[in-house]
Amino acid sequence: MLALNEYDPLVRNKLLEDYIGGMIEQDKNALVNFYEMTKEAIYGFILSIIVNKDDADDIFQEVYIKIYENSSKYKKEGKPLAWIMTITKNLCYEKIRKRKNHVDIEEVYNVGFDDKDSKRIEDRMILNMLLNKITEEERTIIMLHIVSGMKYREISKTLNLSLSTVLSKYHRALKKMKNYLKEDMK
């Protein structure tokens, strides 16, 4: 199955709506397909807000359970991704409120290295390194565009920012990441 960012937006939206429709009918396959299609987009988005790996993993599960439970509340108007990301965002902020964890980013991003799988540690390091260097808003824009495959206009609507703000923040963040990657990948 293709990742979300590889689809044309119109095809993507139609597929997502089909899967949500399937979930209303309690179709297990629809949920599985939906999960496979969106897992990177959703996890990436969570990581842009939540820095603690265990929390991110928890929220990741909660998102799918919430979507499955509330699938009938989705209004079919061609914007499934905005709906999905709003649910995800709300769960993230709920977690932050509960934890009141305004802990220093540097500190928290280094949690989660106890993972046994070395491949994951390496990727995690790239993520930590990249995400530590940019602001939360920049992270969100980067993740939504690169990992979730949302168009700039969709992002500007979802985050309530003007198109030019989204674009300039995106390019600035990308440049920062490029430079740090240059330094750190020696």
Partner: protein
């Protein structure tokens, strides 16, 4: 380091970090809301099918008996009235499809997108003559603001197995619409084309949720090999989101005649800013006076369904690049970099004339040659043994540096050398794969 590489690394890193919790999710979802087995559904459908089949056979039998009463002539007429002779698609942004019989009466009028639903609202066009239907549709498009002085272009695509008939209809409809627009003081631009069944085009139409006619027009535009401001060929993504007026504007600007498309009139540009305005916005943003810039280039372009101007110019020792939304004048993208040509000229001038003053900051730079020798010296590599040398001037947080890249042996070297004092800021050595 290319943007693409950063994006790929990030995508890969996220993809590999996703925890595998599908089983957990399935378990919890089952507890909360449960799943319905697909098997039940299938048997339901089978039951339905079994239930319907005898009825259907009955209907067919009845129909055959009926036909034998009506006789051969009756059958022909009945067939003709409902036989789709021609399919016509109208695209503005609303897209409407009309199916007509050989008497040019409407068999079916279908809205192909949401805008079109608004246009066709409450209209019952069945059995109406084609010219009356066109009148009603164009009237409604004007009333709803889809056709106006700003948005004056409409695409008419005709599908009929007989080419001559298709051409005749295209002409007739073009004249008809032209008259209607003129009556409302709109100088219309009407594009017409014929089309046939084509699996590839139909797939594009499905994928992008646009009419077959528009998909056909875009693929015709693409095959005319027009290029964007970066000199690359356009792709479907860039153009699919444009309205017909916008596509038409782009074609007019690129001076492109698309084969197999007939057109009349010019696309209206009154809803868009012009080149001068785009330039003004860019210069304003850069706080630069128009009289002092060099090598100004302004190109009309489309990306991701947005029409824009790409404005490029040089000022002092920098080069600027802007993308300006042609509709709103918004700055979509901007970038400024050091102008390598400008600096290398300065370097030459400086070595020619040691008395040159230090007004320009670049005059105190060490120069590309010096940067190269510092890097080679540090790497202990002889100049004769290096490949793919690239030296660029760049800046980051007010530090101006030379980026020196080269390959030697099986290694790839990247240096950042402070342009003022020659210090090595960064050094990166990799095995060249």
């Amino acid at each position: 380091m290319r943007n693409k590489k950063v994006k790929e690394s990030l995508k890969l890193a996220v993809a590999n970090s996703v925890p595998n919790v599908l089983d957990n999710i399935l378990k919890k979802c089952e507890e909360k809301k449960g799943f319905k087995s697909k098997m039940i559904k299938v048997t339901n459908e089978e039951k339905k099918r079994k239930f319907i089949t005898p009825k259907l056979i009955g209907c067919v039998c009845g129909f055959i008996i009926l036909l034998s009463f009506i006789g051969i002539i009756g059958l022909n007429q009945y067939n003709k009235a409902f036989k789709v002779e021609t399919v016509i698609e109208f695209d503005v942004n609303p897209s409407i499809e009309l199916k007509i019989n050989d008497k040019e009466e409407i068999i079916e009028a279908k809205a192909l997108n949401d805008d079109a639903k608004k246009v066709l609202e409450d209209m019952d066009l069945e059995k109406v003559d084609l010219d009356v239907a066109i009148n009603a549709i164009i009237g409604s498009m004007m009333k709803n603001g889809y056709l106006s002085i700003d948005q004056n272009s409409i695409l008419v695509s005709v599908k009929n197995s007989d080419n001559k008939e298709s051409e005749r209809l295209q002409k007739e409809i073009m004249n008809e619409i032209n008259e209607l627009l003129k009556a409302s003081s709109i100088d219309g631009s009407i594009l017409t084309q014929g089309y046939d069944d084509d699996k590839e085009i139909e797939k594009l139409s499905d994928d992008y949720n646009i009419s077959v006619g528009k998909a056909k027009l875009i693929s015709n535009v693409l095959s005319s090999k027009i290029t964007n401001s970066k000199g690359e060929l356009y792709n479907f993504d860039a153009l699919a989101g444009l309205s017909i007026t916008e596509l038409n504007l782009l074609l007019n600007d690129k001076n492109t005649d698309v084969t197999s498309v007939d057109s009349t009139g010019k696309a209206s540009d009154s809803g868009y800013i012009d080149r001068d305005k785009a330039m003004e916005i860019a210069l304003d943003d850069a706080s630069v006076n128009k009289n002092n810039i060099r090598e100004l280039e302004i190109e009309f372009d489309a990306d991701d369904g947005i029409l824009l101007y790409e404005v490029e110019f040089k000022y002092n020792n920098k080069e600027y690049e802007y993308d300006i939304d042609a509709k709103t004048g918004e700055i979509l993208y901007k970038k400024n970099d050091y102008d390598d040509d400008y600096l290398s000229n300065k370097e030459v001038n400086n070595s020619d004339n040691n008395n040159s003053n230090n007004n320009n900051s670049s005059s105190s730079y060490i120069g590309k040659e010096k940067a190269k020798s510092i890097a080679l010296n540090d790497a202990s590599v002889n100049e004769n043994n290096i490949r793919e040398l690239e030296i660029e001037l760049d800046d980051e947080r007010n530090v101006v540096y030379y980026e020196v890249e080269f390959k030697a042996g099986n290694k790839e070297y990247k240096y950042e050398i402070n342009a003022k004092n020659g210090n090595i800021i960064d050094r990166e050595i990799e095995i060249d794969d």
